[in-house]
């Protein structure tokens, strides 16, 4: 993968960050990413991020779980090996409900968590570039991709970061 040169500013407070992001959006600056130590509420609409569709995926996984469990038990007790338990019908639906429910939850949870890590590009042993060690502590970061930018553009971005209240500005090739 091609190396990126990233220009980034570190802010000390999420409120300063929020107004800076808002500013950048109004000036149509192309923000590469924003990094924060915790979820900052109100950031997503300003950044123009849409609500995640993870829950829709979760519904699909859950539905697969429901069908798997229910149809499997139905197949076992009506086709593969029918046994009468306590004089009940072979296809005793109420007795299938607890397992159907548990398998639904199991499939939905595992499916969503796996999807979440997959689309985030995360997983055991994955190392993603870290711009600054303090981003997971108390710094809020706005990053611009300046690989193809000329000096003027870089300077104007630097000026923007400075004006919007960044306490530190630096660049890094990742």
């Amino acid at each position: 993968m091609k190396n990126k040169t990233v220009l980034f500013g570190l802010y000390d407070d999420e409120e300063v960050l929020l107004s800076a992001v808002k500013d950048a959006r109004e000036k149509h600056l192309d923000i590469m990413d924003v990094f924060t130590p915790f979820p900052v509420h109100g950031l997503d609409p300003i950044l123009g991020l849409e609500e995640s569709r993870l829950h829709q995926a979760g519904f699909v996984y859950g539905a697969i779980g429901t069908l798997t469990a229910f149809l499997f038990m139905t197949w076992v007790f009506t086709r593969d090996w029918p046994i009468i338990f306590g004089g009940k019908p072979y296809w005793s639906v109420p007795a299938f409900i607890p397992i159907t429910f548990e398998v639904t939850v199991l499939f939905a949870s595992i499916g969503m968590v796996v999807t979440y890590y997959a689309i985030n590009g995360q997983g055991p042993g994955v190392t993603n570039p870290v711009l600054d060690d303090r981003i997971t502590d108390d710094k809020f970061c706005i990053a611009f991709d300046v690989a193809d930018a000329d000096d003027d553009e870089v300077n104007s971005l630097k000026q923007f970061l400075k004006d919007s209240g960044a306490s530190e500005i630096s660049s890094k090739t990742i």
Partner: protein, 473 residues
């Protein structure tokens, strides 16, 4: 977006922390060398664990005959302990899932440790169904897998099998939920560490960077997992109660069991959370994050669920009388004044009477009282399961089959062993992972920190006329 903090809200984070101080405080326990008290506690826990393993091996080698079960009392300390541990394992997911949906901010101080506790308690619980079947080497018969015996399937109509599914699902979902929440905090530890520790936390943190889009998905995932875990946590103890309620034993065959077991589970789970958190906050110096306010809130839950459990006990007695069914009436008379009357007394006094002192705010906020109460409740809830299981079985339909049951040293040893497993894992957890959810505490700092709320908010309120804390729109 503006966050206006009510001055009547007590602060949940004290000591006028800033973001960096939160990181320092919570990471500190896992970054310094273990203290002597930790080491002593760990050695004690591992000794208990080893004795437990010895007793389990003894059981497997010589068979279930080394326990005092007899043909009348087929379930003794094994299933009593199983239900007790599963109950304890209910508080973690309740705190992290249900309180997340109810937007209770105080959960952030305790949810991490409570979830860890849940997972460890479920591990202890899951041990008992495995060993109580006797022939543990064929325990894989529990699982529905294609086999050469027909294939002969498991009985999907059996509550015992539902239980297997419920507990394995609960364990898996709790683990995923817990670990997903831990990833950003492992990243915090990673970015502070050097050398081998950096490598370890780099592996554990899955390459977390804190990107806005990842946080968005993180919150979306947490919310949906909480939504899934909420009915799940209620279903697990419901299904455990089905183990009893779907049988035809008087005293077990009651429709009140599911809600009664769930309330009892939350009750005992919170008691164990309090036992652990009171020690943890003291030893790891986390009093600013697990405050008296947190303890007060948890004691309110103890009071509520303890009272629900009390109502359930009385309802059972009433229904037994009202049913006009002599076997049911006998079963409950037997519990109250039969051979195990002392267990019933312990249950009633620890679970129903003693939590009533928490009607007093002063008592709810007293650490010594809370600690003693949490121990009482743990004991009381163990006796509740003991009352339900051996007491009921020892006096069945035929007086000629009546018997008495008391445990052997092997059964006691296995119970002590599970306590050892639990505390070994918990102590290891306090060394490796942040005991309080760092990112979540930071996220509530500006609405729950003591410089922004309580007395400070009142001062701000009078000077600024209403807008206590404004964040830019």
């Amino acid at each position: 977006m503006s966050a206006t903090v009510s001055p009547i809200r007590e602060p949940l984070i004290t000591g006028r922390k800033d973001y960096h101080q939160i990181t320092e405080d919570i990471c500190a326990p896992s970054e310094r060398t273990p203290s002597l008290s930790w080491l002593v506690a760990f050695i004690v826990a591992v000794s208990f664990l080893s004795f437990g393993v010895f007793c389990i091996l003894w059981t497997i080698w010589f068979g279930i005959g080394t326990w005092n079960l007899n043909r009348t009392v087929g379930w003794g300390w094994d299933i009593t302990n199983f239900v007790w541990w599963i109950g304890i394992g209910h508080a973690g997911t309740l705190i992290s899932a249900i309180l997340l949906l109810f937007r209770q901010k105080w959960r952030t101080g305790v949810n991490r440790a409570a979830e860890a506790m849940t997972i460890f308690a479920v591990i202890c619980a899951a041990l008992f169904p495995g060993i109580h079947v006797g022939r543990i080497w064929v325990v894989f018969y529990f699982f529905p897998y294609p086999n050469t015996r027909g294939p002969l399937w498991v009985n999907f109509n059996s509550p015992l099998l539902w239980d297997l599914f419920a507990i394995s699902t609960y364990f898996t979902v709790s683990l995923l939920f817990w670990y997903t929440g831990l990833v950003p905090d492992f990243a915090t530890l990673r970015d502070r560490a050097t050398g081998l520790r950096k490598k370890l936390y780099n592996f554990l943190s899955f390459g977390w960077t804190g990107a806005a889009k990842h946080w968005l998905r993180f919150e979306s995932l947490s919310l949906v997992l909480a939504g899934l875990a909420t009915p799940l946590v209620l279903s697990v103890h419901t299904i455990v109660s089905f183990d009893f309620a779907t049988s035809v034993i008087p005293g077990w065959h009651t429709t009140i069991f599911p809600p009664y077991f769930v309330a009892g589970a939350i009750f005992s789970g919170f008691a164990m959370v309090l036992t652990l958190m009171l020690i943890t906050r003291k030893v790891l110096k986390l009093e600013d994050y697990i405050t008296i306010e947190h303890i007060d809130s948890m004691n309110k839950v103890i009071l509520l669920t303890g009272t629900i459990v009390g109502v359930a006990y009385l309802t059972e007695l009433f229904i037994a009388w009202y049913s006009g069914y002599i076997y049911e009436q006998f079963a409950f008379m037997n519990r109250v004044q039969g051979i195990y009357w002392w267990a019933y007394l312990a249950m009633m006094s620890c679970n129903v009477l003693s939590p009533q002192i928490f009607w007093s705010r002063k008592m709810r906020r007293n650490i010594t009282v809370t600690f003693l109460m949490s121990i009482f409740v743990n004991i009381g809830m163990w006796f509740e399961r003991f009352v339900i299981i051996p007491t009921t079985l020892a006096r069945d339909y035929l007086p000629s089959s009546w018997s008495y049951y008391s445990p052997t040293w092997v059964e006691i040893g296995i119970f002590l062993g599970t306590l050892g497993i639990f505390f070994t894992l918990y102590l290891a957890f306090t060394r490796v992972a942040p005991v309080v959810a760092i990112a979540e505490v930071k996220a509530i700092l500006k609405t729950a920190g003591d410089q922004y709320t309580g007395e400070s908010a009142k001062r701000a309120h009078s000077s600024h006329h209403g807008s206590t804390i404004e964040t830019p729109h």
